[in-house]
């Protein structure tokens, strides 16, 4: 098997620098939490926003048929 000292150098660097600080994992988790929250908000309100705009522009559900005695 051929020698590759680039890989050896990488192993040495990994051993000397060690793992990244634990707060990085927390920050990633917090960031993703914010993204998910925003995603949920958009998912929750965007369809209703669309409906509201349609209603405001005069569209929307068809009026219920009226019976002759209600006219």
């Amino acid at each position: 098997m051929s020698v590759n000292n680039f890989k050896e150098l990488e192993r040495e660097e990994i051993a000397s620098y060690g793992p990244p600080p634990e707060n990085i994992r927390k920050n990633i988790s917090q960031n993703m939490g914010v993204f998910r929250f925003l995603g949920d908000l958009i998912e929750l309100f965007l369809p209703n926003l669309g409906k509201s705009i349609i209603r405001m522009s005069g569209g929307g559900d068809k009026p219920k048929p009226q019976y002759p005695n209600q006219q």
Binding site: F6, P19, R25, N27, I28
Partner: protein, 205 residues
């Protein structure tokens, strides 16, 4: 009731993710996409964060910048994980994201990083240097030579010899064609030999 449900969810999530510890990366990604279970991503983070962190320090030469960079890389990976098409290995894709991000950061500081290749083909007659020459360079010398090399050439050699990226993958990262990347590698190898000879031929004399 809600609390009990949440507790059970977390407990079963943890138990399920324990079963995934020995699974390949690609299976974890698939399962993560299906369940969005943070524990699964945590397994991937544990596998690669140390390597990515070391790579960031090696490229940016600044511990604080490397910490920010590692964080940004993993956030990028998480937000784009649906784009991972399983055609390459997950590790290759992750390293591509990492290199891309580091190169962007270096580019912001030095505008000449991976500059135009206008005159690239003029010196294309250069003979190629054997891979074995680079790979078998003694560790202490390798460190010295890489230390002296500019960011561009060093990054190319690390992509090729440390992370085994293909020419196409390197081209995608750098936004260059395959022939341009091949030429850049030839040049980087020549630069490596030049610095090596400057540093260590004198030593031998």
């Amino acid at each position: 009731m809600w609390l009990i449900t949440k507790f059970l969810e977390v407990l079963f999530g943890r138990l399920r993710s324990k079963n995934f510890y020995n699974h390949p990366d690609e299976t974890l990604v698939k399962e993560y996409l299906a369940t969005q279970d943070d524990q699964l991503f945590s397994i991937l983070y544990n596998r690669y964060s140390t390597k990515i962190y070391a790579k960031c320090i090696a490229m940016l030469k600044n511990v604080e910048a490397a910490q920010d960079c590692t964080q940004e890389i993993f956030i990028k990976v998480l937000t784009n994980i649906a784009k991972f098409n399983q055609q390459s290995k997950f590790s290759t894709w992750l390293f591509s994201v990492a290199y891309n991000h580091c190169i962007d950061l270096i580019r912001k500081n030095k505008k000449q990083f991976f500059a135009d290749l206008k005159n690239e083909h003029e010196d294309s007659i250069q003979e190629d240097i054997e891979d074995a020459f680079l790979m078998e360079t003694k560790l202490s010398r390798l460190k010295g030579v890489l230390e002296k090399m500019d960011d561009e050439n060093r990054t190319l050699l690390l992509m090729k010899y440390q992370d085994d990226l293909s020419i196409k993958e390197m081209g995608d990262i750098l936004g260059k064609g395959e022939s341009a990347v091949k030429m850049k590698i030839v040049r980087a190898k020549h630069r490596f030999k030049q610095i090596h000879d400057e540093l260590f031929d004198k030593e031998q004399e």
